[in-house]
Amino acid sequence: MFKNLLSRLVQGLLVLLVLYTLTFFLVKALPGGPFQSERAMPKHIRAKMETYYGLNESLPVQYGRQLRNYLKGDLGLSFRLEGRPVSEVIAQAFPVSLQLGTLAMFLAVVIGIPAGCLAAAKRNSLIDTGAMAVAMTGVCLPAFVIGPILAECFGRGLHWFPALGWDAGWPSSWLLPAFTLGLAYAAYLSRLTRAGMLETLSQDFVRTARAKGVSPWNIIVRHCLRGGLIPAVAYLGPAFAGIISGSVVIEAVFQIPGLGRHFVKAIESRDAPMIFGPVLLYGILVILANLVTDVLGVWLNPRLRKSS
């Protein structure tokens, strides 16, 4: 188990290196440069800037130096935000994205898994069909369609929540964006949970339990939940990854000042250091999420423990 975890950790570092390399070359190949604005910059100033940021050195040199800086924890300075440290921008914007993502993940799990269990327990009933129809809607309606509709109905129509924006101290402004972000994942989780539970419910030990007179509630909760949740739990890592990068879209819909906004703007303005920061951060989060998922999976499924 421990050895397995260690090898996953090593693989995670390898993934980060690949991610860094890929981003490095993609950013270098981006059309246009950070200093090619409409207002032409005098040549000598531009040359000075490029020397300052080390943009006139050979690619391998830049690659190595930048990697060393990142290993030291130095994320560099943003071009677009006139030399503000990238770490400062991230420290300011990331908590918003993280809050949004965590709440969305929480909503997805709290809505998706019970709905899937209920649908499986009442198979082929109205509840099952209804829940799965809602889940299909959640999978098919993109966030950028649901978002504006929710903002229109609950924000401008009923005035229950603010329609746009983000107020760190005011949780009611978190709910609509987080729900919009989490809905698709809630839907997918409920489908996975239902399938997993149905599989478990059809096994022989469940028939034995029924014959012994165990109550339906106990069969679901005490006998089947652990096995039935395996597919859903295996999806939690990818779901978290999707939610974290999906918040780029939600932040655009609800005009939330999170990291995703900075990332999109950084790409538009070719602000290389500001592209790297979020990409590497997203990468680390995805790797951590997958690691946690693996551990949870082993905990739920004893068969995995023997093989490792």
Binding site: V18, V27, P142, F144, V145, P148, S245
Partner: protein, 321 residues
């Protein structure tokens, strides 16, 4: 006594699919939308110019001349939705083709060759799986953007010939350009969305490769390529078809997401994602430009998902009880 006629896997599957109402409904709706988007632009007089602005007729509700109403520039939403749908469907199909082709070849080679090759190929898949997908696709599509101009020139010349008249070149360009500007999207999304296909194909190929008829083919002296592509892959078609049906909607969703962020399809081209984004900007004053493209887009995704689920049940006899 007449011998009982056997039914093939495909006949069985069709019989099962026919009884799945949701899947058939999906198939019909899908056919209607796709046919409308493909055929209507070629019928004269049905559609108006999707980019023609008419400020006198702006923000009209649905009516007899403008079936879906008009947007804030007086453009006909019905025409825009149909032309946008054509682009969305095109991107969905071509990108899925790119993605599934890579996935099949990658997975088939890994599963058939096995050993170290398999370990290496699958390790690469593991690593790519752990990348933040949306972020990489955004970067990749923006990076590939400047190549489209060159690609357009090159394709136009290849089709029209170097010594063609200006008019002929312009004529070719009008239909080549909208497609070549989409190529970065095909590549960016296709290059990273084949991972799941490759895993599925690998598992299938592994299980089929150990069967006796493969042994027979080998003892007949057939080459590896022939065994793999003529004997093994056709036996794995079921899961591939199912997964392809389910890949198309996720890729269309992806294209729409990129376009919504302003990083995908660029004006004057439009796709459902672009239309939804434009509609969302004006939805408080005029909801129709948001409503109709959203409904068409969601209906398409619904249909593809229901059809995919139905196909899975139909092609996998174990799951259809």
């Amino acid at each position: 006594m007449t011998p009982e006629k056997g039914t093939s896997l495909w006949t069985d599957a069709w019989l099962r699919l026919r009884h799945n109402r949701a899947a058939i409904a999906g198939l019909v709706i899908l056919a209607v939308i796709v046919l409308a988007c493909v055929l209507l632009p070629f019928l004269p007089g049905v559609l108006q110019d999707p980019n023609a602005q008419n400020l006198a007729d702006k923000n009209l509700p649905p009516g007899a001349t403008h079936w879906f109403g008009t947007d804030q520039l007086g453009r006909d939403i019905f025409s825009r939705a149909i032309f946008g749908g054509r682009i969305s469907i095109l991107v969905g199909l071509i990108t899925t083709f790119v993605s599934v082709t890579i996935g099949i070849v990658w997975g088939a080679v890994a599963g058939y060759v096995g050993g170290r090759t398999d370990a290496l190929l699958m390790r690469i898949v593991d690593i790519l799986y752990a990348l933040p997908f949306l972020v990489i696709v955004i970067l990749l599509s923006v990076t590939l953007q400047p190549w489209t101009a060159k690609l357009t020139e090159w394709t136009v010349q290849a089709i029209a010939g170097t010594d063609a008249s200006q008019a002929a070149i312009g004529g070719v360009r009008t239909w080549v350009e909208p497609i070549t500007t989409l190529v970065p999207l095909f590549i960016a999304i296709g290059a990273l969305s084949w991972l799941t296909v490759s895993r599925i194909v690998r598992a299938q190929v592994q299980s089929v490769a150990s069967m006796d008829f493969v042994e027979a083919a080998r003892s007949l002296g057939l080459g590896h390529g022939r065994i793999l592509f003529r004997h093994i892959l056709p036996n794995t078609l079921g899961p591939i078809i199912v997964y392809t049906t389910l890949t198309i909607p996720s890729i269309m969703l992806f294209e729409a997401t990129l376009s919504f962020l302003g990083l995908g399809v660029k004006p004057p081209n439009s796709s459902w994602g672009v239309l939804i984004q434009e509609g969302a900007n004006t939805m408080f004053s005029n909801p129709w430009p948001l409503l109709f493209p959203s409904v068409l887009f969601s209906l398409t995704l619904f249909s593809l998902n229901f059809l995919g689920d139905g196909l899975r049940d139909a092609l996998d006899p174990k799951s259809a009880k």
